[in-house]
Structure formats: C-alpha cells, structure tokens
Symmetry: C2
Subunit: 207 residues, 2 copies
C-alpha cells in the first residue's frame, strides 16, 4: 500500500485515461477538472500536464490551456517509421543477447495472446500485446530504448482494443508473434527484422 500518491502516479493515470479514450482527442484538459478528478494539487496537475505535453500526448496554447493532441496522418507515419527504424535495428542486438529463458517467456506471452483472442478477452489482449513487445525489446538490454519506444507508442492515435480492425487481423498479429519468437530462437536477425517491420507497418494501430 502506498501512503501517498506520487506525481508519477498522476501522470500514469492521466496517460491511461487519455489512452482509454476517457478524454478524446481535441478536448480541453481543464486544470480544475483534473485536480478534482485525481484529487491532486494544482502544481501537481500543472506538472503532469507539462510532462504529457513533452511526451506529445497533449498540446498547449498559452492562456488557453492543454488539450488532448490529435495526431495527424503525417506525424503518425513519421512516428511509425521511427518505431520501425528502432525495433528492426534492435533485432541485431536481440539475436546476439537473448537468453533461452527470455525466449521461453516470449513464447508464453505469444501463447497467452492467442488464448485471449479465443476467449475474446478484449482488454487483456491489449495488455498482453504490450507485454510481449516490451519483453521482446527487453532482450536487447537497452533500458533507454525500451523507455523511448514506450513513449513513441503513446504518440500513435489511441488504439483501444475495442475497435481493432478485425478478428482476422488480430489473429494474424498473434501468428506474427510466434514467428518473431522463432526467428529469435534461430538467431535469424534478417527474418526477425522483416517480421517486425511488417508487424508494425500493417498493424500500426494494434501493437
């Protein structure tokens, strides 16, 4: 149990709510509303908004306030390209440094993803997907990279699991997860790269 809520918690709560669509793109984040909703002080609220502004999740206009950023097509494409650059480049490090234990964990996560698709556990699927990609990136042992990609993921339009394009597409994503684990186990960097690229490219709103 925590005795007091830290500023990081507020940031995470706000981020989660924006990501979940509680605040839709374009809507104003009024300081009074926020400090009531999260029972935070004014300064904490301002600090959190400033942080989210730096993360490009919200935008700011002087004397008007902060509002949820509505990513345009151009910047969405740019960020997706950056993710492809980072995660395909990371593949080189992954195949070099991955341990058998990590491969096993990744396999478990890929399996859980598939199971949850079959059981239609919509929200869990979303979380498992993120867990898989986080674990995958963790194998290259670069903490700064993991942090950076997490931030970039939030800059792509909110992808609520509820509106995933189609069952077929999700199942395809699940298969790709297994393909990644296979390529990783076989230390085939080029194949891993190709799968990652296709995975991010096609399912840009789903991973």
């Amino acid at each position: 149990m925590r005795k007091k809520k830290s500023s990081k918690d507020l940031i995470d709560l706000l981020t989660a709510d924006i990501s979940a669509g509680v605040f839709s793109p374009g809507s104003w984040l009024k300081q009074i509303d926020l400090q009531r909703r999260y029972e935070a002080s004014r300064s904490e609220t301002r600090k959190a908004l400033e942080t989210l502004c730096n993360k490009r999740i919200v935008r700011y206009e002087p004397n008007r306030g902060y509002y949820v950023h509505h990513a345009d097509d151009v910047s969405t494409d740019e960020v997706r390209d950056i993710r492809i650059m980072l995660e395909t480049s990371a593949a080189e490090f992954m195949v070099k440094q991955v341990t058998d234990e990590q491969i096993e964990d990744l396999y478990q996560l890929a399996q859980r993803f598939m199971d949850q698709i079959r059981e239609h556990k919509i929200t869990e699927i979303y979380e498992t997907n993120i867990a898989f990609h986080t674990a995958l990136l963790a194998t290259c042992g670069n903490a700064s990279l993991m942090e950076l990609v997490s931030d970039l993921r939030l800059r792509i339009p909110p992808a609520p699991a509820s509106q995933w394009s189609s069952y077929a597409r999700i199942e395809q994503s699940g298969k790709e997860h297994f393909a990644m684990v296979d390529a990783l186990a076989e230390k085939d960097a080029d194949r891993l790269k190709a799968i990652i690229r296709a995975h991010i490219d096609q399912a840009s709103t789903e991973n």
Copy 2:
C-alpha cells in the same frame, strides 16, 4: 524583436547554459537563483525545469529539487546506440529523397566546418557541426525524427568544444562529413550507413 520572452526561450537558455557548463553535472538548480538569473516567473521556471527533466537533462528529487543530470557510462552507451540505430536507418530515406540543392548545402556546411577548424574558431565549429547533422537528417523529411535526435544529442555528456579530444580527431570528423556527402550524392546507402556509424561511434562526444 520580441516584446516578451516566451517559455521556450527560457528552456533554450537553460539548456544552452547547462550544455556550456555554466551549471555543472550534479549541481542543484535552485528555483530562486534561476528565476533571478533569467528574470522569469516562478511558474515559468518550474515549467522549464519539468521540461528539462523530461528531456533527461536534469533530474528531480521530491522536496529537494532539480539538479543537472550526470549521465553514467551505461546510459551514454545506450543513447549512442539509439542514435546509431536511428541515423543509420535514416540513411535509407536520405538517399531516396535527397535533392541536389540539399547536397550542395551539405557540402557548403562540410566546407565551413573545415575552414573553421583551420581558423581555430572553436565555438563556431561546434555550431556548424550541429548544423551539418541537422541538415543531413532533414534530407529524410521526417520532422519527428529530427526533433528526437536533437533531444538525444543533449542526453550525451556535455561536449564543450573547448575540450575536444584532439586536432587530428576533429579534422577526421571533418573528412567524414565530406565522405557522407559523397555517399549521399552517389545514393550509396550502405556506405553512408557505415560512415555514419563510425562517425557517431568514434566521435560520440563531438557530434
């Protein structure tokens, strides 16, 4: 002329001063000192510190304040690896999209860099170097990428031009600039990648 200093100016001033070594790593950035030094309000000061904290240039401890971040070797290596991933990947886009005019501009910047080495214009060299790399990245037409790399560059230990390793090393950097322009002009992505990798790797504190 601007009639009022914006919050972005304060952030840039602080960043520049930290980068220039006015505030050395580890030293506390007391709010009162800063708001006097830059003639800014308390809230502007807090906002700027929070932004720099997000950019990983300063760190924060509750109830103690903000201090200049002293990057350790591990995170420095991590960030350098990220830069190599991004800038070598960007090479693909560069060779595809670069215009003759941009190549000419890059050549001019590479030349200016060399001239300033000869004239021992220390501070100008540093700025020209950044201008070259910025212009190089600009050729792949991804504004988000440029922004990201600019931020990453600041996360590597302050590289004051005054303590560049050696004349030979700087001159080598200058030659590599020309080599990059050549590879770019010949649309040789692989060669460009190799040069960029070596350039960032060897001269991690100089570019």
